[in-house]
Symmetry: C2
């Protein structure tokens, strides 16, 4: 799962043999909640999850979408207090690994500790880019950027075929992630269709014109630091 990093066979083995409790979770359920002090991390195995916070006004701000292989709350390893919630967007399969096992694996295999650290650093790089995206790009570019990022990350996991993939994220959720209203998300999606950039129908996304989409969203994947990773 984490073989997106250059790891030795022994390290990979240590990783995959970590004791993990797997469970199935329905859509729209919290996996962990803001305020928790978890003693384990969750690993997204199947389905889509997101990290979010609620504001007092009742708005949900999604800060990250997670795809299989991600560890949404890896930071809880060293930050005991959870400052945001992680919930499912679709039905999911999730694995739980006790902190002690992760810490122990990191102690025995320093490369693993580095890999974990780097994973959290890449998460931070993505948050930075979201600040840029939300803070300084208008709707059309903002959505284009988000789609490019998500597709690029899925591509790295082999989840994209023929420029199309599953994207079971509703327009409400896209709006919550980009800080814009559902209505405006919908109008922007329609603009994309009009401009022949994408098709999007019942959770199936197809990129019709990647270059134009990346151009519209000023998307440059360097911040994802995929070049540091080595497919296994």
């Amino acid at each position: 799962m984490e073989s997106i990093f250059k790891l030795s066979a022994a390290e990979k083995h240590a990783l995959t043999s970590l004791p993990m409790q797997v469970s199935d979770i329905k859509a729209d359920q919290d996996i962990v909640r803001e305020g928790d002090r978890p003693s384990r991390c969750c690993v997204a195995l199947e389905g889509f999850t997101c990290t979010y916070k609620m504001t007092r006004a009742g708005k949900r701000q999604i800060m990250a979408f997670h795809i299989p292989g991600d560890i949404p709350d890896l930071q809880s390893l060293h930050l005991t207090y959870l400052d945001s919630s992680v919930g499912t967007l679709t039905a999911c399969k999730v694995g739980f690994v006790q902190h002690e096992h992760l810490v122990d694996a990191g102690r025995r295999y320093p490369a693993l500790a580095t890999a974990f650290w780097r994973a959290t650093l890449i998460d931070a790089a993505i948050f930075r880019e979201w600040v840029v995206n939300i803070g300084s790009r208008e709707a059309y570019a903002r959505l284009a950027h988000l789609l490019c990022e998500t597709v690029t990350r899925m591509k790295a996991l082999g989840l994209v075929e023929d420029d199309s993939c599953d994207l079971p994220i509703t327009q409400v959720e896209l709006g919550d992630a980009m800080g814009m209203s559902t209505v405006h998300v919908n109008r922007t999606v329609q603009a994309f269709r009009r401009d022949k950039l994408i098709t999007l129908d019942r959770g199936k996304l197809r990129i019709l014109d990647w270059d134009a989409l990346a151009e519209a969203g000023e998307f440059d994947p360097k911040y994802l630091h995929l070049r540091d990773r080595v497919a296994a």
Copy 2:
């Protein structure tokens, strides 16, 4: 400088005796640039710095303000490619420490490695909160939140006295950080003055009504994870 973490005397000594090259940098200069592959980290010693990216449209998005003690590009330790720039807002004193020394110190004192990791995790937590702030709060609340965050962080370093502190950040820069226009920053600052929340004059900020400001910005400092830290 980093004694905001619970470290033993030996660890603190290892930290403070790291070979560091100190230099003075004028205001509005880049310290490191997006695209660099630095072999050292920079430590803010005096003055204010920020992390930012430029968009194609020429807008600057500031993603973080740094105060003395911060290591703005600590992530470069494990992400070779720098995905954003760090620049000075005021004249600054900055220290440079070679990566190898940091890595070496982390190897010899695992608690230091953990402390570094935790520092980057807290940075990430702050980015998450910025996404929430920019994505879901309107101007008045957004500025209130930013001021609360900045003052709280400065307070932790003893840089606040009698509810007032230096805040040599221009309204243009505040706007670049919050994704809003200078004009609107100005009007919001005036609203704060009208509401007797703050005074702000030539880089001097005074909080007149902390509770009201925190209330306006829905500010809850837990995400700063200061409770994990122990003043030394």
